[in-house]
């Protein structure tokens, strides 16, 4: 009889450890990344060579769409509920806790304060078809300034970022800078895309 052949194995590697690491990292990245809140309005920002990134926290965001309507948003989703509470108290909007949570899911608000409560209570589908008026900002009613100022008071040292659509006509921006400058808000960060 022939000698007992040693059992041949193919080259093998223990992948358990690698798998562990991979999933640990995966879990970390999923946890660490913040999900994009539902966008109220699509804004295609112009591009620039600037490399500064948007501040992660303590930043309010004023968006201007193609039609020159103004929207208000908060970059850090975890600050939205605190802001909603303060805004509600300051202007007697009477938001309930549930509505404050509802507010924190919105990346932008495009309705005046008076309609805010009703707007939050709409379902997602209703919001899609809702006729957004934008937040008023002109010499008779500069409500947007109140929003931004309230945010500035709530979170000291906060920045104002301006996110304008590339196709927005300049007069809407001029109006924005004029009204804000009259309210002593002079420092802005313009949101742009990375130049390709």
């Amino acid at each position: 009889m022939a000698a007992v052949k040693p059992k041949r194995h193919g080259p093998s590697m223990d992948m358990t450890a690698m798998c562990d690491v991979a999933f640990l990292l995966l879990t970390f990245f999923i946890m660490a990344s913040s999900f994009k809140s539902e966008e109220t309005v699509t804004i295609d920002t112009p591009s620039s060579i600037s490399l500064d990134l948007i501040p992660e926290t303590d930043a309010s965001m004023v968006s201007i769409d193609k039609d020159g309507k103004y929207y208000f948003g908060i970059v850090d989703p975890s600050q939205r509920d605190d802001f909603a509470k303060i805004l509600s108290d300051k202007y007697n909007l009477g938001l309930s806790n549930k509505e404050i949570v509802g507010f924190s899911t919105l990346s932008e608000v495009g309705v005046p304060m008076k309609q805010l409560k009703a707007y939050i209570n709409l379902t997602e589908e209703q919001r899609m078809s809702y006729d957004l008026t934008g937040i008023p900002l002109d010499s008779t009613d500069n409500e947007l300034v109140d929003w931004v100022k309230t945010f500035g008071e709530s979170f000291s040292g906060s920045k104002i970022t301006v996110r304008g659509d590339g196709g927005t006509p300049y007069p809407s921006l001029r109006n924005l800078f004029k009204e804000f400058s009259a309210a002593d808000l002079n420092k802005f960060q313009l949101i742009t895309k990375t130049e390709k």
Binding site: G10, S12, S50, R174, S181, I191
Partner: protein, 185 residues
């Protein structure tokens, strides 16, 4: 396990034994998927952030505090850029009061267009430390035009810049140049 399947010859005769499961699942596809997702998450988290550009507007002083400053800005140290309709852009280098339609030079937003104009004027500036760019967006220009020009300021290192309104003289020159009537206020 990542194993190269070696055909078990089984020694030819005899009953082929049913191989007992070793209790080790093949983890290769799982690891593959894991790393694919990691790559995806790393990519989306770092690159989804938009960039920002600092933009400060001058403080608005109440009328009584305004001092009429006699600014000694030499014309050769400045360039005025008018952002027009349909992505058109004009520049001139003249005292404001003397501007006519013929002084406006039309160019475009490309590297060879406005950037070359700024750089050539900048190199001829009498005192480069006072080099100032005056940006005047017209009512028909878009936000993209303004950002593009502000971007050019960063590229050409023109740190002194001002965004101001078109004056009546310039309006006349600009609208004559594009062949349109001056819009009513």
């Amino acid at each position: 396990m990542a194993e190269v399947q070696v055909k078990d010859s089984g020694g030819g005769k005899g009953k082929s034994k049913v191989k007992k499961g070793a209790g080790k699942p093949d983890m290769t596809p799982m690891v593959d998927l894991g790393f694919l997702l990691i790559t995806f998450f790393i990519y989306t988290t770092t690159f989804s952030k938009p960039n920002t550009m600092v933009y400060n507007t001058p403080k608005e002083l109440p009328p009584e505090d305004r001092v009429e400053q006699e600014l000694d800005i030499k014309v050769s140290n400045t360039i005025t850029i008018i952002l027009g309709e349909d992505n058109r852009v004009f520049w001139y280098q003249k005292p404001l009061k003397e501007v006519t339609a013929d002084d406006l030079v039309e160019t475009d937003y490309s590297k060879e267009g406005i950037r070359t104009a700024i750089l050539s004027k900048k190199s001829k500036a009498l005192s480069p430390e006072n080099w100032t760019v005056i940006i005047k967006p017209s009512d028909e220009s878009t936000w993209k035009n303004s950002v593009d020009i502000l971007d050019e300021m960063a590229i050409t290192e023109s740190n002194k810049k001002a965004v101001v309104e078109l004056q009546q003289v310039e309006k006349e020159a600009y609208y004559t140049k594009i062949g349109k009537p001056i819009p009513a206020e």
